[in-house]
């Protein structure tokens, strides 16, 4: 599984990478803002995206709306300090599949990733 991490903090991306490695995912793409993420998406097709809200140049909510104009499928988890209910609703309306509030611990992030991916494959 290929995962695109979009966060302006490299420290956060590194922590996310560590969590992903622990659950067996090492094929990672990175972007520091929405513009960079759109550039990555021109040539790459991730199976999952983790997207921060507050970033320079283009924020996460704008990125998600742009992605969802043409791509309804790729699962997106918003991972942000924005925790107010209105913000979560806004993100869901924009098309996120799941929501992780920073600060997060390793277990909660791993769990949300598992949850998001397993919802896509209806178990038979």
């Amino acid at each position: 599984m290929k995962v695109l991490l979009v966060d302006d903090s490299r420290t956060i991306r590194n922590i996310q990478k560590t969590v992903l490695a622990q659950i067996g995912h090492t094929d990672i793409l990175e972007a520091g803002d929405g513009i960079e993420a759109l550039k990555v998406l021109e040539t790459q097709t991730p199976d999952l995206m983790l997207v921060d809200w507050n970033m320079p140049n283009m924020d996460g909510i704008t990125l998600i709306r742009k992605v969802r104009e043409t791509n309804k499928k790729t699962p997106i988890i918003m991972c942000t300090t924005e925790a107010q209910k209105e913000r979560v609703i806004e993100a869901i309306k924009a098309g996120v599949n799941n929501y992780v509030v920073k600060p997060f611990n390793v277990e909660s992030l791993a769990e949300k990733i598992d949850q998001t991916m397993s919802k896509l494959q209806p178990s038979g």
């Binding site: 956060i12 320079p56 925790a83 920073k102 600060p103």
Partner: protein, 168 residues
């Protein structure tokens, strides 16, 4: 400044440091920052705008800042490390964002983080908005969370407050 605005930051700094830096934080009694109070070596700053305007500043000594950045990132980080400012800025971002969640009836936006690295500098407050200092103690040492927040439209509070605070 309304002291009820302080509690969200007390809870938030505890939550952020416990979850992301893996240290237990003891918070002392908040006080109004004296005119020439607390010098710092490293500060992470987030501005607030919207219904409430102001800023939150997290200040450390060099030593505590490096230790906190290292425990947060999970790798050894000194001040020359390219991710040092990033780590301090993101800690400030999480403290601000998490505190914001407690202000349920108001609309507030937070700025991107700024980080100042120096030697015993003072982040001065504006006269119109007194700064409340929350002293924090953990096994890494002490750090200070300073909060200045006022309803928008009150004198001299606006979205540029974070910039004024650092004198740029």
């Amino acid at each position: 400044m309304d002291v009820r605005l302080i509690n969200p930051f007390v809870m938030s700094v505890k939550r952020v440091f416990e979850t992301m830096v893996h240290v237990k934080m003891t918070v002392g009694k908040p006080y109004i920052k004296p005119e020439n109070g607390n010098s710092a070596d490293v500060s992470g700053i987030i501005g607030f705008s919207g219904d409430l305007a102001g800023c939150v500043v997290i200040s450390f000594s060099h030593d505590v800042a490096c230790k906190a950045a290292s425990q947060f990132a999970g790798i050894e980080i000194d001040e020359k490390h390219p991710d040092f400012a990033d780590a301090i800025g993101e800690l400030a971002n999480m403290v601000a964002g998490n505190a914001k969640k407690e202000f349920t009836d108001v609309n507030i936006r937070i700025s991107l983080p700024s980080v100042i690295i120096g030697n015993s500098f003072t982040v001065s407050g504006s006269k119109s908005a007194p700064r409340i200092v929350i002293p924090c103690q953990c096994e890494l040492g002490e750090l200070f969370v300073e909060v200045a927040m006022e309803p928008s439209g009150s004198s001299e509070t606006n979205s540029t407050q974070a910039n004024q605070a650092v004198g740029v």
